[in-house]
Amino acid sequence: MPSGVPLIVFLTGNLGCKMAKLSLKNIKKSFGSTEVLKNISLDVEDGEFISLVGQSGCGKSTLLRIIAGLEAQDAGDILIDGAPMNGREPKDRNIAMVFQDYALYPHMSVGENMSMPLIMARLPMHARLPGIRHFTPAHRREKPGIDADVEKVAKQLRIEHLLQRKPAQLSGGQRQRVALGRALVRNPKVFLMDEPLSNLDAKLRVEVRSEITELHASSGLTFIYVTHDQTEAMTMSDRVALMQDGAFLQVGAPNDLYANPANIDVAKFIGSPEINMIKGAVTSDQVSIGNVALPIALDAPFNGAVQIGIRPEAITINGVPGLAFANQSERTIQMSFNKRLVEDLGPEVLIHGALAVEPNRSIRIRAQKSQNYGERELFASTSQLDVQIDPSSLLFFDPSGKRISSKLKIPTHNNPVELVGAA
């Protein structure tokens, strides 16, 4: 399979105008005494690409299987275009699903795999029985159409030369395409994907990721995509639903989850490398980090200890040439940083260390390299570096992990706050 072949613009033709709005209302599910889904409600708009993301065991796969009809919910409703799906078999739900390990039938050729859904939908039982099926008029009537449809999808997925092969003779990427093809031939309203990239190697994963995004754009189908990889969720989806312990932590656009996490778990899960956390304390109108205080304006009154989140790219290092930082302005909190380790990732560097105000908490700083990047300066420089932090990027969380929404009042560009000096 030639790499990098884009995944076609094709479905618009045979789709016509299909509306597919999916609603989940108060879905509950327990396995024995374990509650895996706690009152899940979600509306997915027609044509939307939504990712269900979370650690393993958070209930995301169960939710997907309930939508597919492979598992029955204990309570709650699933509506597709307003029609209740409760108790309907998977095949009657107008959905297609791509399984994590593809679940291709190993004894069937690629072509037979892909024609399965069509055979089941178009042929009556007697025309599906082995031995006699070839003699039935229904088989004779429908077979050419089925073959043509399979061929069309195969061509569009660039797997038409593989139709005679068995799944065992295919590469991982090819199997992935066959699984997509088997799902696409049936012309579904909703496309469900259960970690479809997790069995591919890293390079192929990035490639297929963009292909699936394109497939979504071109088909206009509603996609529900389950993954444990936040990068996949962030890069592919219109919206991300972050799950933990059977409930949504936050549902929103990728950037929303990144910039405005509802709680500390969201902040930690979204973003790579993980967000830095340091300790602080808030009184009604100021926040203190170490022994220095900043004025702050809280949306709701709060007193006490807080966790402060700082994204790795929100910290700027002074005095090393050739490092570029996002949003260079407004880095007005001055701090001292003890460098421990530098990782060169090619286009960017990751600097590990700790802030002088909290020497036991590991902090990562991410910086883009620019042309005159002074590797020697960075590696050779003393372990002590001066850094600046953008105050507007700080995220405050109360001890329970809930976000405290706030605005930092003063420190402006003209009036930097020195946090280090007092030590």
């Binding site: 009809g69 291709l104 089941m120």
Partner: protein, 297 residues
């Protein structure tokens, strides 16, 4: 370094020979020499009764193919196999599928159906003979009570192979069922889920689209081993019918036993044994051939 390596190697080789020596000698004495001897004896008129024997060439084999008893035993074995094989196969498969879908009772049922497999067939054969007794057997009591004629299970030339097949069936169903259950359990559940999404949710579709093709290797294995078992029928014949009535249940292995150890026609019996080996070997080859073909998936 290389001297060191070869020293280690030779030490290992010596150890290896020591480890395989007992097994190799026993294989030679118990398998290889006897097979060679069987072949030579089959070319003689050797009989245990006298030490004098002479080479008779292919005479024993010629006798075999003109011997009425051999033809009769072969036909009996084939008839018996024709009754026994399909039933042993289909009943066990249906049972395995039904039991697999049982949630609560699965292990209880598995144990109950497997019970006959562990029991001593020779002992159970006399129980079956009593159950099938033409006059006062329990089965005939039941048959009479539903208004039918008594059946002479073991005394009728037409029915005796059928009755023996039932006993064998009883003793092997649990065995095949467990093999099928293992095969069924190894079918990935997500294939059934994919089939459900694709619309193959009817039991018939599930069976023909997923279960049957995925059971391929197990099916072949069960078919071959059951065939071999069919040709090895001996215990029930020896205990219950002794080949009767009127040689109607004289099957192949029993005939070979009689020729060798009752009449002491060692030469002829050896020829029969080699014929038997050829049959078993054919089955083994069929299995090996299909096992290779199945490697693909």
């Amino acid at each position: 370094m290389s001297a060191m390596a070869s020293l280690m190697q030779s030490k290992q080789t010596r150890l290896a020979y020591m480890l395989v020596m007992p097994a190799a000698v026993l294989i030679l004495v118990i398998y290889i020499l006897p097979i060679i001897i069987v072949f030579f004896v089959s070319l003689t008129d050797y009989s245990l009764v006298s030490d004098y024997y002479e080479f008779v060439g292919m005479e024993n084999y010629e006798k075999m193919f003109s011997d009425e008893a051999f033809g009769n035993a072969l036909v009996n074995t084939l008839i018996y196999a024709a009754i026994f094989l399909p039933a042993a196969f289909i009943v066990s498969l249906v049972l395995a599928i039904a039991i697999q879908e049982q949630k609560q009772f699965r292990s209880v049922l598995e144990v109950l159906f497997f019970l006959p497999v562990t029991s001593t067939l020779a002992a159970m054969a006399i129980v079956w003979a009593a159950l099938m007794d033409s006059g006062q057997g329990v089965i005939n009591h039941v048959i009479v009570s539903i208004g039918l004629e008594k059946i002479n299970f073991l005394g009728s030339e037409d029915l005796v192979l059928f009755s023996l097949a039932i006993i064998s069936l009883w003793s092997i169903i649990g065995f095949n069922m467990v093999l099928f259950l293992a095969g069924l359990t190894s079918i990935p559940q997500n294939l059934y889920e994919a089939a459900a999404i694709d619309g193959a949710s009817h039991p018939i579709d599930k069976f023909f689209r997923v279960t049957w093709p995925m059971l391929g290797p197990t099916t072949m294995f069960v078919a071959v081993t059951t065939s071999i078992t069919a040709f090895k029928l001996f215990d029930t014949v020896a205990i219950v019918t002794q080949g009767g009535p009127d040689h109607a249940s004289e099957v192949f292995l029993y005939l070979a036993f009689l020729e060798g150890f009752e009449y002491f026609n060692m030469g002829y019996s050896s020829a029969l044994s080699l014929f038997f080996l050829c049959i078993i070997f054919t089955f083994a080859l069929v299995q090996a051939f299909f096992a290779d073909r199945n490697v693909q998936y």
